[in-house]
Symmetry: C2
Amino acid sequence: MDEETKTGFMREAIAEARNAAGAGEIPVGAVVVKDGEIIGRGRNRTEALKDPTAHAETEAIREAAKTLGGWRLTGCDMYVTAEPCVMCAGALVLARVRKAFIGTRNPKGGACVSLRGILQDERLNHAVEMEIGILQNECETVMKDFFAELRGAKRGRIKKSEDGNI
Amino acid sequence: MDEETKTGFMREAIAEARNAAGAGEIPVGAVVVKDGEIIGRGRNRTEALKDPTAHAETEAIREAAKTLGGWRLTGCDMYVTAEPCVMCAGALVLARVRKAFIGTRNPKGGACVSLRGILQDERLNHAVEMEIGILQNECETVMKDFFAELRGAKRGRIKKSEDGNI
């Protein structure tokens, strides 16, 4: 697959991540692609849906399965801004996703290369191909901006509270 | 916790597994318990919902989170008939479940003791306590009965097809 196609789909995943950030959610976005078309989109919505399983990847997988009318996402690829966690890596394997294109690593919770290698566990009945580093800087920036803003907001609240005590 | 309480809740999980079997789904059932009450129920519904993430554990977690009105299942226990897979073990950790009571091991895909030890990974930000073997025989029987019936049905279809060729 050519770079332009890959970055094009990753930009769509980044747009989903930015939507999540705008809603106050940890900004991860994902799209599922089949035959050159996006058939599922997802962004982290754990806070909005009050659902610990509502990660970008599971949301995108569920939408894609709905589009296809079946739970096997054979021949489908996922573009996701950050390395999937254990739950999501497991979901990618269960859904038979062909290949995962990942933006940036997640050293604290990533289960594809950082902490574990779930996607290529030969004992499971499917292996997901993987490529890491698609638009890595942009994907990292979304995450960094979000946490910088969060820290700023917290400092603001502390400052305000301190002012209130004067 | 006394044995009677544990087996009582596991019987509820087994009832969910039997419901799944009745619907032609691989029979796994789960309940989430808080302060002695069931606040979430789940059974495998991947075929019915055409959703690869619709396992008993994720369904029970999502219902429990809805009941509580938040995604953190702090102080909640799960009773599940079969050892959770990678996705579900990851979901238990994300949801901050206190303890998992597991019926029977799943040597091919279990991610708690069989293939991996996801529930007690010190690198993750929560660890789930675990006890295995609650009503193990009953939990195994549900699974064995289902696959025996499935094989019988397949043999029946082959026999019928052969008869048709005579």
